[in-house]
Each structure stands twice: as structure tokens, then as C-alpha cells.
Subunit: 227 residues, 2 copies
DNA sequence: TTTAGTCTAATTGTCGACAATCCTCTCATT
DNA sequence: AATGAGAGGATTGTCGACAATTAGACTAAA
């Protein structure tokens, strides 16, 4: 269900394939966060020329998974607490706005479809109570569809194209098996209700609170760990 | 005053220089919006190899000034009304949030400095009453500094790195000699007062209204023209 | 006249080699 | 011992050529 999530145009060129492979390996931590990227080494590993690899690196940089410095090279981004919280802030602002727009722009049919998906998540949740992984995938799925519903191409590009995989990376590497699953599910329902009521203002507020609550949950958890 | 605006790391490599040159030419319209980009042609024009040119194209794509399709090529983005309004929406969300953060994060000294800058703009405005150009530059300057003041690197990257020049492009090509100069100046003052009062909530609201007012102003103007 | 198909020319993607820059280790000097 | 200069090795940036794909023109058939 999630595999069709990204705004993916089927990888046609070989640089596309290398890009997707590396993207997955970075997100899942097989290429370590913060590690230096050696162009000759990776070119050999994937059996492509350095030009092709560099093309892939350029796209990884576009979705904020690596950082480049001239004449020095590329590094995988580090997963810091500060960075994670910064992303939540950006998401709060952008997804809140997306939600407001979606309340105006989404078709009735789209809303109905999303309601069905959400109901499906609810059943899965009941069945697999406590197992948060699917809920997490479902969470991304819900957010993804609301963003698409905004019908604002800039917004969609930034959230689904440039930030999406960075969010996934943090989820993977910080192992977020949210204890908020149940509450998050209810919040999703409330947000969708506001959208269905065409109440953009309320929808934005609920989405912002929803994301802010996740952020504060992380802050609290990390605070505890440091004690 | 504006030339030091972008988060520019001095261009060290030749691809950097080509990138900056093309960036300027696209923003100012010397390379026409919507036009197709011929790699061989431009490589000859700038006297560099295609590899170097493609490196520059990759960065232009990062700041949303061109779009690429696999096996087809690159085009300069088109300046459409829809696109312009979409950007205003994104800015409303992100700069509003930046403003909220700035109210907490900016140092007293930074705030004082910004107050002086704003006062300077006020004098210029009085002197050159009606001439909106400097005010427009000043507008970007003000927004830029507030964004920096948020101290959120993700936010700064998106707004100052990826969207900044696209905004400039629209300003250039739609010829926005704002009749809102006076009002915008007053709004800036109110925003800065809220920041100085450390009232993040108010600061966000004022910034959002400020940007939304600009957007509606554009909508109104374009609506009139179409009649 | 229109449409389908094919062929040619041009453009983009990929490759390997060379040039320029940076990092590190060594050695000399204070 | 600490600091600085310099050489060596490795990495990144740039180049020109080849391969793969696309766009456009031309022909032929319905």
C-alpha cells in the first residue's frame, strides 16, 4: 500500500535506479548516517561510471539525504534530535496549510476513498493491536493523501518529493514505534471530518496540533532517555 | 544591500559560476521562461563542457528554476498565475512559522539591527516616494532576515535556498512595482514589534496576513487586467 | 486528406581519462 | 616538543567521445 506512495515516475535511466537503491539504503541505514561518500568506491560497488553515480548523488542531495561541499565531497546527513524537531516544525507549517487547502480542493470521491482507507487502518489496528508498524505506514499514507489533496504543486513537491524520504529516514533510524498509534488514529479521523465538513480553518488547526503533538511526544521521550 | 542576501557560498568551481550566471539570466528573463534548454548550445555559449553545464542545470533544478524530463531535456519553468499564487501559499505557511520561531530565537541585538534597517527603508521610502523598487528590495531583505532569525536550518534552506530565486523571478517578470509599498512597510513594522515583544503567536499571524494580503492584491490586479 | 510506419538527425545519458584541489604524513626548524 | 612547510596519495571537478533514446520528416496505404 505504501510502495506506490512517492510521486515516483518509474525509474527509466540507470542513474534513476542507482538513486532509488541508494535512497533506500540510506533511509534504512545500510549506508550509515553521517558517513562520507566515496565516489570511486560506490561507482565500483554499483558497477556504474562516476558520472552516473554523481547524477544519482545530485538527486539524493535534492531530497536532503546527502550534503555536498565543493572539492571536498558528499556526506550522508546526520540524524540529530535538532534536525528531527526542525522537520516537524516545517511539516507542522506546510501540512497544516495543505490540510486547509484540501478542505476546499478535495473531491467528494477522494474524501470518501480516504475515509475507507482510514476505516481499513482502524481494523488493522484492532487486529494487530500494539503492533505499531503498520499504523506508521498508514500514518504516512494518510498524510500523503491529504497533501496530494491540497492541489498545490509546490506544496506537493516540497513535502512528497523533497522531505518525504528524510522523514522516513528518521522514522527508520530512530525506531519510532509510536505509542501514539491509537491517539494518532483518532486525530486522523477528526482531521478528515473537518475536511469533509469543508472547514479549512479547523482542518489546519487540527493537523497542526496533530503534528505538534507528535513532536512534543518525541521531545518528551528523548528527554526521559537523557535522564 | 541585497547582493549579500542569498545564503551564498562564494562560487569556487566553474559549474558554480555557470550556475550563478544562468540563475541571473533566468530570473531577469534573458533566458525566456518556458523555453527549452539545449545542452550543446549552452555549453558552447558559456565555453564549458556538457558535464559542467549539466552540473549547473542540476542546481538550477534544485531551486525550481528549470524542470527536467528523462531522455527529453530541460525547460525553464513557466511563470503562470497559478504558480505564483501557489508560492505565496507556501510562503504564508513557512514564513509565518519562521516568524513565530524568530520571536523566540532572535537575539536582542539582531532585533535592534533589523529595526535600524527598517528605519532606513522608511527614510528611503520618504525620499523616493512612489519609487517602489528599493522598497521591493527592502521587502526581500526584511523577510530574509526574519527567516534567518528562525534559526531552523530546514526552514532557511527551503525559503532562502530553494524558493528565494523563484520568488525573485516572478517579481522580475511580472513587474511587481507594488502599490502596497506604504502599507507593506507598516506591516513590517508591526511584525517586528511583535517579535520584539517575544509574541510568537501574534508575529506568525501578522506575517501570514501580510503575505496573504500581497497574494490577494495580486489576485485582484490580475482579475482587473482580465476584464 | 489523414494516418500509420520508418528512417534520419539531433539530443540526452553514460563512459573513461585527465586536470585541479584537498588531506595527510613526513621532515625540518624554532 | 610544537609548529610549519612540503611532498605524496587520493579525491573531486572537467573534458571529449560513444551509446541510447527521442523528435521530426518523409513515404505509403487507407
Amino acid at each position: 500500500m505504501n510502495s506506490m506512495n512517492p510521486a515516483r515516475q518509474a525509474p527509466v535511466t540507470t542513474a534513476d535506479k542507482i538513486f532509488e537503491t541508494m535512497q533506500r539504503e540510506i533511509v534504512e541505514g545500510q549506508i550509515l548516517a553521517g558517513s562520507k561518500i566515496s565516489e570511486p568506491e560506490l561507482a565500483k560497488k554499483y558497477q556504474v561510471s562516476r558520472s552516473t553515480l554523481r547524477e544519482a548523488l545530485n538527486r539524493l542531495e535534492k531530497c536532503h539525504l546527502i550534503e555536498r561541499k565543493a572539492n571536498v565531497g558528499s556526506r550522508v546527513v546526520e540524524c540529530t534530535v535538532k534536525g528531527l524537531l526542525e522537520i516537524y516544525i516545517v511539516r507542522e507549517a506546510l501540512e497544516g496549510m495543505a490540510c486547509r487547502l484540501a478542505a476546499s480542493a478535495m473531491q467528494d470521491a477522494e474524501i470518501a476513498e480516504l475515509q475507507q482507507i482510514l476505516a481499513g487502518h482502524g481494523q488493522e489496528k484492532q487486529l494487530q493491536d500494539g503492533v505499531a508498524y503498520y499504523q506508521e505506514e498508514g500514518d504516512l499514507d494518510f498524510h500523503y493523501r491529504v497533501i496530494q489533496g491540497s492541489n498545490n504543486q509546490q506544496l506537493i513537491n516540497i513535502l512528497c518529493g523533497e522531505l518525504y524520504h528524510l522523514v522516513r529516514m528518521y522514522r527508520c533510524q530512530f525506531g519510532m514505534n509510536s505509542p501514539r498509534a491509537t491517539r494518532a488514529f483518532d486525530e486522523h479521523k477528526a482531521i478528515l471530518n473537518a475536511i469533509a465538513d469543508r472547514d479549512g480553518e479547523l482542518a489546519e488547526m487540527l493537523m497542526r496540533r496533530h503534528i505538534a503533538a507528535s513532536r512534543k511526544n518525541i521531545e518528551r521521550k528523548l528527554e526521559q532517555e537523557s535522564n
